[in-house]
């Protein structure tokens, strides 16, 4: 690679010719403040917070878009630079609502941190305030454009990462705002509710819809039996929301915390992840051997399901009819579990903790009422659970490790890896291979489908068959995959798709901030959990076996069909 030599704050540094001044500064440990810059998105140079001095340049330059060149001399910490940055941030604050103390992003806000880092102690200007209505007509996300600083992260994440293109800058000058086409709410726009916009928003302009009040109410109602399920990806990220480092596995502490919050039973979505494998795996074998629609595509990720329903409704029959683990769990809690425990399902409140904002919307889909009630009553994101734990005053790091309740808390390593991209595929292959061949697998690790590469492919021998699989994460990669199917160029048998980068561990409801390294740490933690499990194959789960033997019958049986499978329909939302 061609390198150039530049000097930054007196330090000589060699960087690639293609680098920006910001990248060069970061490489030698100089933290230039940024707001509109995002390492995973195309640079825009809009906010001007990253101004630096370049010798010979006529004015201060935006380092995030300014290319380096040989012999360049950069100063990032002069009086002029500090003053200019302060001015930029002061001007942003001048028309930003001054309600930090009651903002959902209080203490976890990039604008707040930058104001603090830059030592802003007074705002000399009293700017005009915007008075735009809240967009809160959907189950997942709340947008408050009055808090928007026009960094464009959400626009770029939705377009570049997800290929969904919901947002654009609208209007001009002071009236500029970020909105879907025709200024509609997200409920009328082709939004998948994946929440990636919320993960990149530096302020409180896009946040998850907070359902903690409803859950507190249910917990304190003595007439209600409140059960909770926790998704695989929550246990490897919740720690971050409570002061621990990325990749901390906090399964036991999380269970202890949930008990102390007052949940009557603490169960595990991993249990129904195992169940999903049996249903979906059996469905796959049927399609493969009896000539069903191939490639079959997974259906666990509700952002992904919304995407295909909105954008590629002609391909819906490729989706597995198996419900997501969250919804299988919901259906079982108010039927199987209620029957076993002798509890009237109307007294059960079913809560789930998810890394996901789209799960909130999935729970209120009209078809998710197989128990006769709404199967899952409330969905909280990992961030919301973090807030509840703080509100309850629990010292999370001092909590003991506790075990999930039986039977819906018993799971295998195959269930936990659902949390990472490739995990559902690997879990399915572990079961499908053994069921089809009747022989025990030597090695359970299907490493070809692991990792953060956008689209992964593998050919896996299952008996005499060579099963061709693919794994895609982020909706942009999903789009690539679907275009291939439409063009008749996808000769895969089975495809896993997750809406978010890295799979659920990078979900729209996970702790902030998040970057590639954080996602990698969470993925590593997921496989660490898998390695630690005594059982690592879904069909070995004794609680799942018991469920089939005593109650469900067999995979794809009549009861399964009614409770554990669903159907999809095209969604029409213009824009």
């Amino acid at each position: 690679m061609d390198m150039v030599n530049i000097t930054i704050d007196g330090q000589k540094v060699q960087v690639p010719k293609t680098a920006t001044v910001l990248e060069a500064a970061l490489s030698v440990g100089i933290k230039v403040p940024t707001l509109c810059y995002h390492p995973e998105l195309r640079p825009e140079g809009a906010c001007r917070v990253c101004l630096v001095e370049v010798e010979g340049a006529r004015s201060l330059v935006a380092s995030c878009v300014y290319p380096v060149n040989e012999g360049m001399v950069v100063r990032t910490n002069t009086a002029a630079v500090r003053e200019a940055r302060q001015m930029v941030v002061e001007l942003l604050l001048a028309n930003h609502p001054p309600d930090c103390l009651s903002c959902q992003r209080n203490l976890n806000c990039e604008l707040q941190s930058i104001a603090s880092d830059l030592g802003i102690r007074e705002i000399r200007f009293d700017g005009e305030r915007k008075d735009l209505p809240l967009d809160a007509n959907n189950p997942s996300l709340v947008r408050d454009q009055n808090k928007c600083i026009l960094c464009g992260h959400c626009i770029r994440a939705c377009s570049e990462r997800q290929g969904v293109h919901v947002y654009s800058f609208v209007n001009r000058g002071f009236n500029t705002t970020v909105a879907p086409a025709f200024m509609t709410g997200l409920d009328e726009a082709p939004c998948t509710y994946c929440g990636q916009c919320a993960t990149v928003c530096p302020t409180g302009a896009i946040v998850e819809k907070d359902d903690t009040d409803e859950v507190w109410k249910a917990i304190s109602d003595p007439k209600k039996h409140v059960v909770v399920q926790t998704a695989p990806a929550v246990r490897v990220a919740l720690g971050e929301a409570l002061g621990m480092g990325p990749g901390s596995v906090v399964t036991g502490k999380m269970v202890a915390a949930l008990r102390r919050l007052g949940f009557d039973k603490v169960f595990d979505t991993d249990f129904t992840a195992d169940l999903t494998i049996l249903e979906e795996g059996t469905e796959f074998i049927e399609r493969l051997t009896k000539g069903g629609k191939l490639p079959m595509i997974t259906s666990c990720s509700p952002g992904w399901v919304n995407f295909i329903e909105l954008m590629y409704p002609d391909l819906l029959d490729h989706l597995s009819t198996a419900k997501s683990p969250q919804q299988m769990f919901g259906a079982l809690v108010k039927t199987y579990y209620a029957e076993k425990q002798g509890i009237d399902p109307k007294d059960i409140v079913s809560v789930s903790i998810m890394p996901c904002t789209a799960k909130k919307a999935e729970a209120v889909r009209p078809e998710m009422k197989s128990s006769g009630y709404q199967d899952v009553d409330y969905v909280l994101t990992t961030r919301e659970l973090g807030r509840m734990i703080r509100e309850a005053g629990l010292s999370f790091d001092k909590l003991p490790a506790e075990e999930f309740d039986a039977p819906l808390g018993i799971s295998t390593g195959a269930g936990v890896i659902f949390g990472a991209t490739g995990g559902v595929m690997e879990a399915a292959l572990r079961t499908v291979a053994e069921v089809v061949t009747g022989k025990e697998l030597g090695c359970l690790d299907f490493k070809e489908v692991r990792g953060l590469t956008g689209i992964k492919e593998a050919v896996v021998p299952v008996g005499d068959l060579k099963v061709k699989v693919a794994v895609a994460h982020t909706l942009q990669n999903a789009r690539t995959m679907l275009d291939k199917i439409r063009a008749g160029e996808a000769d895969y048998h089975f495809i896993e798709v997750m809406a978010c980068p890295g799979g659920c561990i990078g979900g729209g409801g996970q702790p902030l901030p998040v970057c590639k390294e954080t996602r990698q740490a969470r993925v590593d933690a997921i496989y660490e959990c898998d390695q630690c499990m005594s059982m690592r194959k879904s069909h070995d789960n004794p609680a799942v076996k018991e469920l089939y033997d005593s109650w469900l019958g067999k995979p794809l049986g009549e009861k399964s069909h009614k409770l554990l499978h669903t159907h999809y329909h095209a969604q029409h939302r213009e824009g």
Binding site: P133, D135, N137, S159, H165, V166, Y167, S168, F169, V170, N171, R172, P180, A181, F182, M183, T184, G185, E188, A189, E574, G575
Partner: protein, 167 residues
């Protein structure tokens, strides 16, 4: 949510599909051309009088441009209109010369006569009232244009009579 689009369809209920023929013709001219969005929007606006929602959606579909992006472009430029416009466009000058000679009172007289505020169109779609920063006829201040006619040395009293000529 607040929508700029009270009017759902551009054809006034005459059946959308046939009315899209004009648009399809416009887009056919630019097929495959890069950077064609703005000319297409301009010609579509000429054809329909404004940019109705279904026109924007169709441009997006046919040109493979996200609707959100087209909406962003259409709201950025003052030349594009997302609501139906009146048969007569009134541009009342608010420039410096007009200002000192009572442009505010002229605007008020127009608003009172038409019973709409600046930037709006009368419900009968006869008039759209717009303000402009200067029309370059300062010698005639205060001044306004109705379509291509210039009316200068205005007084609030004469405004209703001038409007009457176009009604």
């Amino acid at each position: 949510m607040n929508s700029n689009h009270e009017q759902k369809c551009c054809c006034g209920g005459k059946g959308g599909a046939s009315n899209m023929a004009k648009l399809d013709e416009i887009m056919a001219k630019y097929q495959g051309a890069k950077g064609a969005l703005i000319p297409v929007l301009q010609e579509a606006q000429d054809a329909y009088g404004y940019l109705p929602k279904d026109v924007i959606v169709r441009i997006g579909e046919k040109m493979s441009i996200p609707t959100s992006q087209i909406y962003g472009v259409a709201t950025f430029y003052a030349q594009f209109h997302l609501n139906p416009r009146g048969k007569n466009i009134i541009r009342v000058c608010q420039g410096t010369a007009c200002h000192v000679r009572g442009a505010k009172a002229i605007l008020k007289a127009l608003e009172d006569t038409l019973k709409v505020s600046a930037g709006k169109t009368t419900p009968d779609l006869k008039f759209t009232l717009e303000t402009v920063a200067c029309i370059g006829a300062c010698g005639l201040a205060p001044v306004m244009m109705v379509n291509d006619d210039t009316h200068g040395r205005l007084t609030p009293e004469i405004v209703p009579e001038i409007i009457g000529r176009y009604a």
